[in-house]
Amino acid sequence: MRELRYLEAMREGLREEMRRDPSVLVIGEDVRASLRGLTKGLVEEFGPSRVFDTPISEAGFTGLATGAALAGMRPVVEFQINALLFVAFDQLVDQAQKLRYMMGGQGRIPVTYVVAASGARRGLAGQHSDHLYPLMVHMGMKTVMPATAGDAKGLLKAAIREDDPVMVFAPSALLAEKGPVPDGDHVTPLGRARVAREGTDLTIVALGPLVPQALRCADTLAAEGASVEVVDPRSLLPLDREGLLASVRKTGRVVVFDDSNRTCGFAAELAALFADEAWDALRAPVRRVTRADVPVPFSPPLEAQVLPSADRLLEACRACLEGARA
């Protein structure tokens, strides 16, 4: 097994799929020059009829990908910025995601969307820092958010091969992280959670960019005598409900560490799932550590206040372990 950076692993996965299937195209802004790095070298290898630089027309090229997919292609659409999903929202959810159902099951729409630097990075403020996975899941779009280099490659390859639209969030906080990547045709199936660390006293369900912080929190708590399990759902729709429930039933305590907003966020859905399906096993209330319900502010202390933090996670875990209500 090799060590690769997250972004390198993802790029390798994309290149492999383009070699494997001539119907795979790349469409997006600055994808030939590769501002984000995901598509670096692709136009050199596959030529201009596989890699398309688009005008700044997010709704237009999203719709274009839908039409091309219905007509037999397998487009990979890169969005440079999270918030571009808002600009393309009708074409994403009202068209690409709904068409097959509305057409009574006719056709296939195998489009992969990649937000190749999702979530917050320091100092990008309100319109470049959202993490919109709950919106996509809410509208029924298959959605994955790999947290490791191996999954970045494996889930992207699975997404490209999937015959439905799939949104891939590649958190900017993880793009430079190194990790082991299995050799060969490494495909991570959708719908299976990953246990990032085993434990018996408490489960942290950590989303995407928060997984490394959750693992550090587990280390801290281990030093205090608590055995913490960290579960990375990685596939948000389909969601490995049974995998998550198995962990919560085992530990009886759960904190959801989520990079989406508080209200109607992904953590809220997981809390409802645990209340519905694991109530008898719960020994403490389900706790959520999330973003605040405001746009991500610019100034570093304000930004840190709004994003889900390791400190608040630690606090929530300790409270949960004591069984005390906040």
Binding site: P55, A59, L64, A71, G72, M73, P75, M102, Q106, D164
Partner: protein, 331 residues
């Protein structure tokens, strides 16, 4: 292109008559609550769908609009399965999941009517792009109305088609009104085809009440697209003789004068064209009318006799690749 043959001339009439009578029957069925919801009738605009779709091959693609019945019939859609869909039946084109605004038949190149104004335009571009990449000489037509010429995504689509020389024909059905809003108040242009100049594509404006004029202009645009000459913007000046949708009468809203409607009605292609056919000795339109009625009788009977879908099927067909527990149960 050459002039249409005698058979084609008759076929144009049959198609227009089919659309007109289909829509009139739909209104009756909506009023009798046999069709749920509302529908947007194509009455008055028949020459546009007919002239354009008769310039296409069966493997060419169209994207349609909320007012889509005419496009779908003209592209070869089966009136029985359309009527069944409108009644929400299991035998409908969309198995009851779409209704009037979403009828699609991918096998006929009908990539769907669409409930969002202008949304089909980029989808048509994608189909055109795929055809070119696959070495096929298929053409895609994006139908949209005058209102959609102010929708951003239509302009994005026109620009994409222009920069990549895609085989697309943008057919603007200018019926003068976006629901109640006159295009004269919503665009500074007298001639909507002038929008094409911004994308350096040919922009033509034709009489949308004249099926032969539409067919000639569409044939030229389609031939240019197929030969690699890129997109065309084809404005067809037309009019809807009925309200925006079936419920409009009940709302009692007024935005156009009786005189204006009457003036356009005098140019009704379902009056002028059959009169011309009779005059030319091409065909007795009454014979065609009988055929059309028989076809529609059969369509309505088929739809009425068809079963409703089973309620528990409502969660089926969302994904090409299903997973256990998806869509979520227990709602």
């Amino acid at each position: 292109m050459g002039h249409p043959s005698q058979d084609q001339l008759i076929d144009f009439y049959r198609t227009m008559r089919l659309i007109r009578r289909f829509e009139e029957r739909v209104v009756e069925l909506v009023n009798r609550n046999e069709i749920p919801g509302v529908t947007h009738e194509y009455v008055g605009e028949e020459a546009v769908a007919t002239g354009v779709c008769r310039a296409l091959r069966p493997d060419d693609v169209i994207t349609s609009t909320h007012r889509g019945h005419g496009h779908i019939l003209a592209k070869g859609g089966d009136p029985r399965r359309m009527m069944a869909e409108l009644m929400g039946k299991a035998t409908g084109y969309n198995r009851g999941r779409g209704g009037s605004m979403h009828i699609a038949d991918l096998a006929l190149g009908i990539y769907g009517a669409n409930g969002i104004v202008g949304a089909g335009a980029p989808i048509a571009c994608g189909a055109a792009m795929a055809a070119r990449l696959r070495g096929e000489d298929r053409v895609a037509v994006a139908f949209f109305g005058d209102g959609a010429t102010n929708q951003g995504v239509v302009h994005e689509a026109m620009n994409l088609a222009a920069i990549w020389t895609l085989p697309v024909v943008f057919v603007c059905e200018n019926n003068g009104y976006a629901i109640s809003a006159s295009i004269r108040d919503m665009s500074p242009l007298e001639r909507l085809a002038d929008r094409a100049a911004a994308y350096r594509m040919p922009g033509e404006s034709v009489d949308g009440m004249d099926v032969l004029a539409v067919h000639a202009a569409a044939s030229a645009a389609v031939a240019r697209a197929r030969a690699g000459g890129g997109p065309t913007f084809l404005e067809c000046r037309t009019y809807r003789f009925v309200g925006h949708f079936t419920a409009e009468k009940a709302l009692g809203i007024r935005y156009r004068s009786e005189e204006e409607v009457e003036a356009w009605r005098r140019r009704d292609p379902l009056v002028t064209y059959p009169a011309w056919l009779r005059e030319q000795g091409v065909v007795d339109p009454a014979r065609v009318d009988e055929e059309v009625e028989a076809l529609l009788d059969e369509a309505v009977a088929f739809a009425r006799q068809s079963p409703l879908p089973a309620p528990e099927e409502a969660l089926d067909g969302m994904y090409a690749v299903p997973y256990p527990g998806l869509p979520a149960r227990g709602w």
